[in-house]
């Protein structure tokens, strides 16, 4: 308890000392907005849980617990929301036991938004059980709920410790960033397809919702991390978990074991040396004459900077991960939507690509880390720095878009091919504005990325949200202009007219981007000290 109190006090002081009052209010406002945006999801689930448990009593906990655990684990993995409050690396000089730090992290992870969103459902289930079986049963269900959350949090923290340990090996980070995303999406695809298949089969076999719930309950009965807390909650599952005492024992083991194993993994990784990070001389710039080949249209210094950017892009797993995750999502959505109604397969991928554009370069300078100070010490013009950053970011964005559009065209040639030139031109227009906007945000509100793990949450806050909305509005405006033109132009010239409008938008956006370079270079000069202070600083506990 003393360690817990001490660590939370440390976190509290760090948070208070590193944020402004305005920033805290803005963050609170954003949190409320997000909570409201997601409310249909978790309030709907809460209503369903209330109805189900009021009708069926404690046995219904199996399904509610199972769904909640699955949702927490799945959403945490998918959103990269795995995180821990305290890194043992930064605390290892103090006489703190790794198990204590791990346990504190486990308890603290219960405040993750994903977990908090499952709370209304679980509370509704407790209330439903109390209504059906009495107040005492309600208390019993509450105890089961607490154990469920602890088991889930401990398991996730253990998984995080394993991932973190793996990702400390430099070579592993490259592979993991890719494979992790691929695994998540592949699973999503399989589940998406098989659930449709199952639903179809169930409909044909005349399966009722009640029978389906029974099937789901029987499935979760076989999963100890669900059936044990449900047994404590009074679900009286079949098999060994019929006795709540057995359930309680299994629960305690299911919490203690991951905490013990996870803390061992965490303490081992905290003292692990990096596994290498050697650059193969034959593949690096050493093999060529100059550090940088001359890029078309760029000066020697700009090419030098752009080459460094490119090397950083391929050597920074977080950036690589960001680059890979969007096209993969687009490919997955296109594949999933292949058999669905027209529009889903084309519009949703475009929406995903566009809506992530603004957010993806908010860290444009953040990944330079401490090196940002060296950049400012060298004789570079601010405009060259801004231009080279933008050029490499645009190259990356267009590569991603190329992959996404190629997939769309290959899978839906009939509907995509006629619109492809307009889609590419319009997307390019939005990309240039997204580049300018992201550059401005990353300069004026510099922030440092997480140093470990996969992506974690990106920066953003209110400014990120505004940038996101501006890009979406711009994309919407271009789309509306194209639709309006198509409705006004004679049918035979629809394609040409749309392309002309999209091209006009592209020209305007490129001009805006070009003008923004000068403006952003001035901002770079103005915010140089702030950027060094934020990005080059050593991370605290």
């Amino acid at each position: 308890m003393r360690t817990l109190r001490l660590l939370f006090w440390l976190r509290w002081r760090i948070a208070m000392n590193t944020t402004t009052r305005r920033g805290r209010w803005a963050m609170a406002g954003l949190t409320v907005l997000l909570a409201l945006a997601f409310s249909p999801l978790y309030l709907g689930a809460a209503a369903a849980a209330w109805v189900y448990t009021s009708k069926s009593g404690a046995p219904a906990l199996l399904v509610v617990f199972g769904v909640c655990q699955l949702a927490i684990v799945w959403a945490s993995l998918l959103a990269g929301a795995l995180g821990r409050l305290f890194e043992l690396d930064k605390l290892k000089r103090y006489p703190l036991r790794p198990t204590d730090v791990f346990a504190v992290n486990t308890i603290a992870s219960l405040t993750e938004p994903v977990v908090l969103m499952s709370v209304p459902t679980l509370v509704a289930a407790i209330a439903g059980v109390a209504r059906h079986d009495g107040t005492l049963a309600g208390f019993q269900a509450a105890a089961g709920t607490a154990l469920l959350l602890l088991i889930t949090a401990a398991a996730l923290q253990w998984l995080l410790a394993i991932l973190d340990d793996l990702l400390r090996r430099e070579w592993m980070r490259y592979a993991a960033a890719f494979l992790f995303t691929l695994t998540v999406l592949a699973f999503q695809l399989i589940v998406g397809r098989s659930s449709r298949h199952l639903a179809e089969q169930a409909r044909r076999a005349g399966v009722t919702p009640e029978r389906l719930l029974d099937e789901v309950a029987r499935f979760f009965e076989r999963i100890p991390t669900v059936s044990a807390p449900a047994s404590v909650g009074g679900a009286h599952a079949n098999g060994i978990f019929h006795e709540p005492l057995v359930g309680l024992l299994v629960c305690l083991v299911a919490v203690a074991l991951p905490v013990w194993l996870g803390s061992r993994t965490m303490s081992r990784s905290a003292v692990r040396n990096s596994g290498g990070g050697r650059v193969r001389a034959s593949r690096g710039p050493a093999a060529t004459g100059a550090f940088a080949r001359r890029w078309p249209g760029l000066t020697r210094i700009q090419s030098l900077l752009a080459t460094r950017e490119l090397l950083y892009l391929f050597r920074t797993p977080a950036v690589l991960y960001q680059m890979i995750v969007v096209p993969l999502t687009v490919v997955a959505i296109t594949l999933i939507g292949r058999t669905r109604e027209a529009g889903y397969g084309e519009l949703l991928p475009l929406f995903v690509m566009t809506s992530t554009l603004a957010a993806r370069n908010l860290m444009l300078w953040g990944h330079d880390g401490a090196g940002i100070r060296s950049l400012f010490l060298l004789p570079f013009e601010p405009r060259d720095l801004v231009l080279s950053k933008n050029v490499v970011w645009l190259v990356g964005a267009f590569l991603e878009a190329g992959l996404a559009f190629a997939t769309l065209a290959a899978l839906r040639p009939a509907s995509v091919m006629p619109l492809l030139p307009v889609m590419i031109t319009g997307y390019a227009a939005v990309t240039f504005v997204g580049g300018a906007l992201g550059t401005w945000v990353s300069i004026t509100r510099p922030s440092k990325p997480q140093e470990r793990g996969l992506s974690r949450r990106g920066p953003g806050g209110v400014v990120g949200l505004v940038a996101y909305l501006v890009v979406l509005i711009l994309a919407g405006a271009i789309l509306l202009a194209v639709i309006a033109t198509r409705s006004l132009a004679p049918d035979a010239h629809d394609g040409l007219a749309s392309l002309l409008v999209a091209s006009l938008a592209l020209i305007v956006c490129v001009a805006l981007w070009w003008l923004s370079l000068e403006r952003n270079a001035d901002e770079l000069e103005r915010h140089r000290e702030q950027m060094i202070g934020e990005i080059a600083k050593t991370a605290d506990a």
Partner: protein, 266 residues
């Protein structure tokens, strides 16, 4: 009008942080070709001075010229002619040591072939050849220090800013670096502006010394002149420093009876 015989010239240089002065009207002159030791207690304004002179920080008031160029309006010209080993180093973590050196060399306008040749020679001189292809993120503190010094030297700067260059460097490397720096000053006429808390190093290397206290220059001149006290008697650099910064000679353990009394830890 800047004096052409001075490598560094500041006049009433001021820098405020949150309204509090870190530099409070600093007027400093560093002759070209000198080995200048810039001393002061923690928080006196040494790093702030270096950060302003190297173009990282903007002054709140006053003026500063480096090699005749205004640090505010001609920052690029200044950066082309100086080499810096900053406090905290701040290198490009995701470049290899060799890439880093070549990047810095080419950024300073060296031809690619020259940059590559010099990078190889500097890495060899700093005993880093075996680790040349390792990412900087995997370098030890001492290796980083040597790499930072190599980066500062690759373009033959006229003026070197070294913020605690020997901190964390082993004795052998320190000796080699010291010899190299002395050679640069005596044979090439390079100006070295060095901060260090190790007074023995400053005493051994520097021709000129400046002592800054609370953002103001408290003493400045040749080492020989400054070592004579007000009564004309010679004194060590440590005595000069302590007298100048006004440190009382109170023992470090005073008031810490619980720590210094004879009984050992439980």
């Amino acid at each position: 009008m800047p004096d052409s015989t001075l490598a560094i010239q500041t006049h009433q240089l001021t820098r405020l942080f949150g309204g509090k002065p870190a530099l409070d009207g600093l007027t400093l002159e560093v002759p070209e070709g000198s080995f200048f030791g810039f001393l002061g207690p923690n928080g006196a304004g040494k790093s702030t001075t270096i950060n302003i002179l190297t173009g990282l920080l903007a002054p709140s008031g006053g003026s500063a010229h480096v090699l005749g160029f205004d640090v505010e309006t001609q920052a690029i010209e200044v950066k082309r002619r100086i080499g810096v080993v900053p406090d905290g180093l701040h290198l490009f973590e995701r470049l290899s040591g060799e890439e880093h050196l070549r990047f810095v060399g080419e950024a300073h306008g060296l031809e690619p072939a020259d940059a590559r040749r010099r990078a190889g020679q500097l890495l060899a001189a700093m005993h880093l050849s075996d680790d040349a292809n390792k990412l900087v993120s995997n370098y030890s503190h001492g290796m980083r220090k040597k790499l930072a010094l190599s980066c500062a030297l690759i373009h033959e700067p006229r003026l070197l800013f070294l913020d605690e260059p020997f901190e964390g460097v082993d004795a052998v490397a320190t000796r080699e670096l010291r010899d190299l720096l002395q050679q640069l000053v005596t044979t090439r006429g390079t100006t070295v502006f060095l901060t260090s808390h190790v007074l023995e190093v400053v005493e051994r290397l520097c021709t000129h010394v400046g002592i800054i206290v609370e953002g103001r220059l408290a003493a400045c001149g040749t080492l020989g002149d400054l070592r004579h006290g007000p009564d004309g008697a010679p004194r060590s650099l440590e005595e000069l420093f302590l007298d100048t910064v006004g440190a009382d000679r109170q023992g470090a353990g005073d008031g810490l009876d619980w720590l210094t009394r004879g009984t050992g830890p439980a």
